[in-house]
């Protein structure tokens, strides 16, 4: 029985997890480092504890034990896929809400996980440890311990392979402390399709359908949806079965995601498995009605899954846009500042997982995600229209965001047609053009009235019916 949980994370995901814990009657503990002392996630938890770093596995596990928490929820990012936190929790006698340490290790190793999948006869993207055959080019050079596109390089010609291997190895050693790299076949114009998985301690594994996450920038997703327009019922069943098989092969316990890439031909390949709650998990919750965090807690308590595969259905359509503090028009550079005006959208079918409020300071210390705007509607078209409205009502001033950029992306004909692949943004460069060159006079009125004007520039006159034009400088 879990009565108290420490969430080893910050921002929107910590808050989202607190919401479910509170619904389950579980006490919540937030952790924070100095820049986050006044952050929203710290203030909404029942208790909070300062830690040295969100990456300090032993410190977090000890803090959890010291404050009487039964379990630690890692969220996503930080230590969610590091064996160190799972192991430290085990040592401290605290439940780690996630899979077994060994599962995290195997699935975190891109080479070992692929060979495990091959043994289970799940299609994987061809990989080589050294020179691939010349007719397999272009290829990608990837870091064994990498993620988020770091240490990744596209190589078009065999002649460029060696220098790419060296550079990637150097970058990987610096970023992940592991210089091992490998070569992978490069799939042209693929879709990113992933399946949500749930496995309990009794060996039951189900999938909770797919999410399509093809709209990416710098190998990071920015728009996700469920269902995917690319999946026929047959293809959905086939990839879903492969995802369940992938998880079962490693005795998966908890919530996880099996990522695939889907070729335009309909062939699919295992890419990797994320052994944690995914950023984009809300779209799955919106179309199925399941609360994935509640399932995670139940599984960690040793309870069986609350649903069977046959009881799950995808209803309607859900879309998620990640709201980042960044400037898409300037190479997606992260933006900093403090949020002066924050007016979130509301209304039917809108869910906002937010980690900020008016006054929040967006610094350089952490990932610049501010919030996730999620909508549900009965159809994909209605979901896009709802997202357009919601983005159009979302006001964030004080720090620059990608809100208008997202609006332009979902308003393209290609997005409406569902013609998506992971190179969408490279091809649709028009979405980087800021529309609306005209300046509405109302903007000048507002800016001018909101500006302090020195007395010498300000004229105040008192008009009375008998003295016309009596201007006076004050």
């Amino acid at each position: 029985m879990i009565r108290k949980v420490l969430v080893a994370n910050r921002g929107e995901i910590a808050i989202r997890i607190f919401h479910t814990l509170r619904e389950m009657g579980i006490q919540t503990v937030a952790v924070y480092t100095e820049p986050d002392a006044n952050s929203l996630h710290v203030r909404i938890a029942d208790e909070n504890r300062r830690i040295a770093s969100y990456l300090d596995a032993n410190g977090i596990a000890h803090t959890a034990a010291a404050c009487g928490a039964d379990a630690v929820h890692p969220g996503y990012g930080f230590l969610s896929e590091a064996t160190s936190l799972a192991a430290a929790c085990e040592k401290a006698g605290v439940v780690f809400i996630g899979p077994a340490t060994e599962t995290i290790r195997v699935m975190g190793d891109k080479l070992e996980s692929k060979s495990k999948m091959q043994q289970a006869r799940i299609p994987v993207v061809p990989i080589w440890r050294s020179d691939p055959p010349a007719d397999e080019y272009p290829v990608l050079v990837k870091a064994v311990g990498g993620g988020g596109g770091k240490g990744m390089r596209l190589v078009e010609e065999p002649a460029d392979l060696n220098s790419a291997l060296e550079a990637a190895s150097r970058e990987a050693a610096g970023a992940f402390g592991d210089n091992r790299v490998f070569v992978e076949k490069y799939i042209r114009n693929p879709r990113h399709i992933e399946f949500q998985i749930l496995g309990d301690a009794r060996g039951n594994v189900i999938h909770v359908f797919e999410r399509e996450c093809s709209i990416q920038r710098r190998y990071q997703k920015i728009i996700e949806e469920s269902p995917s327009v690319a999946l026929t019922p047959e293809l959905r069943a086939a990839i879903g079965a492969a995802a369940v098989e992938a998880a079962s092969t490693v005795g998966y316990r908890g919530a996880g995601t099996v990522e695939f890439i889907l070729e335009p031909t309909g062939r699919f390949y295992f890419l990797e498995m994320n052994t944690r709650l995914q950023v984009e998990h809300p779209v799955t919750e919106m179309v199925t009605g399941l609360d994935l965090v509640r399932e995670q807690v139940r599984i960690a308590e040793g309870q069986p899954l609350s649903v069977r595969q046959s009881e799950l259905h995808q209803i309607g359509h859900a879309l998620e846009c990640r709201i980042y503090a960044e400037v898409p028009e300037e190479g997606f550079r992260p933006a900093t500042g403090s949020i002066g005006v924050y007016r979130p959208p509301s209304g039917p079918g809108i869910r906002l997982d937010s980690g900020v409020e008016e006054g929040s300071v967006i610094g350089i210390h952490f990932d610049p995600i501010l919030a996730k705007l999620v909508v549900w509607a009965p159809s994909r078209t209605a979901a896009i229209e709802r997202m357009q409205r919601a983005l159009g009502e979302f006001v964030i001033l004080g720090v620059r965001t990608n809100i208008e950029f997202l609006q332009r992306v979902i308003s393209t004909g290609a997005f409406a047609a569902g013609a998506l692949d992971t190179h969408f943004l490279e091809r649709h460069t028009e979405v980087f053009q800021q529309a609306g060159v005209d300046l509405p006079p109302a903007v000048l009125v507002a800016a001018s009235l909101a500006t302090d004007v020195p007395a010498a520039k300000r004229q105040i006159a008192f008009k009375d019916p008998w003295a016309v034009g009596a201007w006076r400088n004050t």
Binding site: R343, P441, A447
Partner: protein, 173 residues
């Protein structure tokens, strides 16, 4: 000031803005929420329907503009009907820099208007959120409250004074 039976007041201001390489020289006159904007020889009438600390609703030729504003230094970011505009204020109408760095004890007007009453005196001790000044704007009375607790060290207005949005009313130490 206190000029007896003043029924209307007019404020006029001239500012220079730059956006995407274009310059805008603006003259604005307002009379109790109604106003005109003169820009490059063109004059546009507007009406301020509503004003809040960071926003306003403006009516121009029957169209409704919902607006939010954030200022940092000389850059004014304006959200208007789903689009965001970044304007830079140029020399000439430039505001004093100190006005941007609002000190915690500075009490400023949330909107332009007329001072109806001043409810405290210099050296009074005040609690946070205590009403200091009553403003009249768009035919409504609006209390301006203490931003913090402390002692009132300065009061810079008196009844019947006409004040601009953001103008310093009092200082609490």
């Amino acid at each position: 000031m206190g000029r007896g039976c003043v029924e209307k007041y007019v404020t006029a201001r001239e500012l220079h803005w730059k956006r995407n390489g274009d310059d805008y020289s603006v003259r604005i006159e307002t009379v109790n929420g109604q106003g005109t904007l003169s820009i490059n020889g063109r004059t546009i009438s507007f009406q301020i329907l509503e004003r809040s600390p960071h926003g306003m609703r403006v009516l121009i030729e029957g169209a409704n503009y919902e607006i939010y504003i954030w200022r940092e230094g000389r850059v004014c970011t304006v959200w208007c009907n789903s689009a965001t505009y970044r304007l830079e204020q140029l020399e000439g109408g430039r505001a004093p820099h100190a006005a941007m760095n609002v000190a915690a004890g500075d009490v400023r007007t949330p909107m332009a208007g007329k001072v109806l009453r001043v409810e405290v005196q210099v050296n009074d001790s005040v609690a946070e959120h205590q009403t200091l000044v009553i403003l009249e704007s768009m035919k409504m009375e609006t209390p301006v409250r203490a931003t913090r607790s402390g002692r009132v060290s300065q009061i810079l207005v008196q009844p019947d004074d006409v004040v601009d949005m953001g103008q310093l009313l009092a200082v609490i130490e």
